[in-house]
């Protein structure tokens, strides 16, 4: 549905996108992941015919963005980084205007506007001036605007930015529900978002594509070995974390024990196994036999975050959004 080949974009002094190539199949949700300034927005602007590429080609639904921009534009719904809103319009008016821009009219437009308002949870404020909406509501109107003409391809630049946790989940559900008959490319810096919403992920850094794979494969690639979180309670508070750690390290199949924290006489560890070894049973036995309490034992998922940081050079790319923490919490 989307084919990009050797795409390059140069601004006056920066090489924003550097020969990237990828493909997005029909009906897929693809996450476009990268730190700030990686070139996500630039790539999306090229795909939506807002900017021309400096080199390379991009086709959407079989139409080249340079040669047949009108055909491309008809088939694309685009949510830019800042939602393109007119503060002096009411939501309903605005969506009607966008619908007309996209070539819709009459009763079908009117009913579609209502449908989209329902879907994006803005029906109750449809008569409000956009200028008076909160950031999250604006984002929803932005999303509503992108899907109003039921486009084949959706390009969403950080669709969940500025939403509250509940709304983030709803938006992800909305995006997923669009999936079967829409092809979706969404950009984000929030990793759980990709893990939860997307099937396929493109990781971009400094204008270069550093990985393209399915989310599942990427997770497995880093997993290989098992990683377990343990909380151990010493019986009379006299046992210190070090003793526990030494004991854990002697369990067969353990490659590494990381001490996390101690609260009163409870200590938390992260234990990694050697490749293809299953250690949970042995760990539990070792702890109980040593006379400690095993409060918690659970596998710690290898997050895309680690892969992402590996691929993009180790630095923490971005402050995690506060919402992210909450969402992760809800998943556990």
């Amino acid at each position: 549905m989307i084919t990009v080949q050797g795409l390059t974009k140069r601004y006056a002094h920066t090489l924003a996108v550097d020969h990237i190539s990828f493909e997005v199949q029909k009906g897929q949700i693809v996450g476009f992941l990268g730190p700030n300034g990686a070139g996500k927005t630039t790539t999306m602007r090229i795909l939506t015919c807002f900017l021309p590429p400096s080199e390379g080609t991009a086709t959407v639904a079989g139409f080249d963005v340079l040669d047949q921009p009108m055909e491309v534009k008809k088939r694309i719904g685009y949510l830019p980084e800042t939602p393109p809103l007119y503060p002096e319009m009411e939501i309903g008016e605005y969506l009607t205007f966008v619908g007309k821009l996209k070539g819709m009219s009459g009763a079908s437009l009117a009913s579609r506007v209502e449908e989209v308002e329902e879907r994006c949870a803005i029906a109750d404020v449809r008569n409000k001036l956009i200028g008076k909406l909160s950031k999250g509501y604006r984002q929803r109107v932005g999303l509503a605007q992108a899907i109003i003409h039921n486009p084949e391809v959706l390009i969403l630049d950080e669709p969940t930015a500025g939403l509250d946790p509940k709304q983030i989940i709803e938006t992800r559900d909305l995006i997923r529900s669009l999936a079967p008959d829409h092809t979706i490319l969404l950009s984000t810096h929030i990793l759980p978002e990709v893990e939860q919403t997307c099937e396929q992920v493109l990781i971009i850094n400094k204008g270069k594509l550093v990985a393209t794979d399915s989310v599942h494969n990427l997770q497995n690639r880093a997993r290989g070995a098992e990683s377990v979180l343990l909380e151990v309670e010493g019986r009379n508070g006299a046992v210190d974390a070090q003793t526990i750690q030494h004991r854990l390290e002697t369990v067969s199949g353990v490659s590494r024990v990381l001490f996390k924290e101690t609260r009163s006489n409870r200590s938390v560890f992260e234990v990694e196994s050697l490749k293809d070894r299953f250690i949970r049973g042995d760990l539990a036995r070792a702890i109980v036999e040593s006379g400690w309490n095993l409060n918690e034992l659970r596998p710690s998922a290898v997050s895309l975050e680690e892969i992402f940081l590996q691929l993009t050079g180790g630095e923490k790319a971005d402050e995690p959004a506060p919402a992210e923490a909450v969402v992760q919490g809800e998943n556990q």
Binding site: I76, Y78, P84, L101
Partner: protein, 258 residues
């Protein structure tokens, strides 16, 4: 065609939900009314004098009242440095600042449709300003019997001059993302276009004539006399085309450059 109308409607909507349209309407109507009232007073005094001196020539309302009002320097000046820049400054600058230009530019609609829609909306607002000033003259038709044709030609001149300036203003608005800069730039350019004719007052050389020809206000004179001179109409119409063409070029280069 339909797309032009969609854009035009949207622009008119934003003019009339914000105070700008009403402020302009009030301000311009007041000033125009004041100018008109003054000319009526002068006209009355003169006709009184003519009667007293026993000449009692047929006082011509067209010559002695309508024309002085239409060619009043202040009205022209206000249109050029205030009305038009205030109407056009937001047209593109605001869309660029708020990012809504991204919506327009990624919708299946051509640049020229966007430009024409915006220009027509600006022209409609400007025409509604003129309409309210025309009400003043309506009262002359109630009490007298002036010839309506020179008046219509005069208004046509105002409309053409406005249309041309609006096209240039639209272009300047497309060059920046800052409305204030768009307004100041427009005022500057218009003032230059206004004073371009000065040298022709004392110079007969060709360059002075050329400069005078380029001057916006010069071409309006014939309209105030009730004469529809094709040379002047062509000047304004070409300026409209030039302004709109430059706007479309600048929209294109916006994409290639940025």
């Amino acid at each position: 065609m339909r797309n032009i109308w969609v854009i035009c409607q949207k622009e008119l909507h934003s003019y009339f939900v914000s105070p700008i349209a009403y402020v302009l309407l009030t301000m311009f109507s007041l000033i125009f009314g004041y100018v008109f009232w003054n000319e009526v007073r002068i006209f009355n005094l003169e006709s009184l004098q003519a009667q007293m001196s026993g000449q009692a020539p047929p006082m011509n309302v067209n010559e002695m009242l309508i024309r002085p009002v239409l060619s009043n320097g202040l009205i022209g000046f206000i249109i050029v440095v205030l009305i038009v820049p205030l109407i056009t400054m937001r047209l593109f600058a605001e869309e660029k600042r708020t990012g809504t230009i991204e919506l327009l530019a990624t919708s299946p609609i051509r640049d020229i449709e966007i430009i024409l829609g915006k220009w027509l909306a600006a022209l409609a607002l400007y025409a509604s300003l003129l309409f309210f000033t025309a009400l003043n003259f309506g009262f002359l038709f109630k009490y007298g019997n002036p010839d309506w044709r020179p008046l219509a030609v005069g208004y046509l001149g105002l409309l053409l001059e406005g249309g041309a300036l609006l096209a240039v203003g639209t272009f300047i608005s497309a060059l920046t993302r800052n409305q204030i800069i768009a307004a100041v730039g427009t005022i500057g350019v218009f003032l230059l276009l206004w004073i371009l004719e000065w040298p022709s007052g004392y110079e007969t050389a060709t360059w002075a004539q050329v400069m005078a020809y380029c001057s916006v206000n010069k071409h309006y004179e014939s309209f105030t006399k009730g004469v529809l001179d094709s040379k002047d109409a062509i000047y304004y119409i070409s300026l409209i085309f030039l302004g709109l063409f430059l706007t479309s070029r600048s929209m294109e280069s916006l994409r290639w450059r940025s």
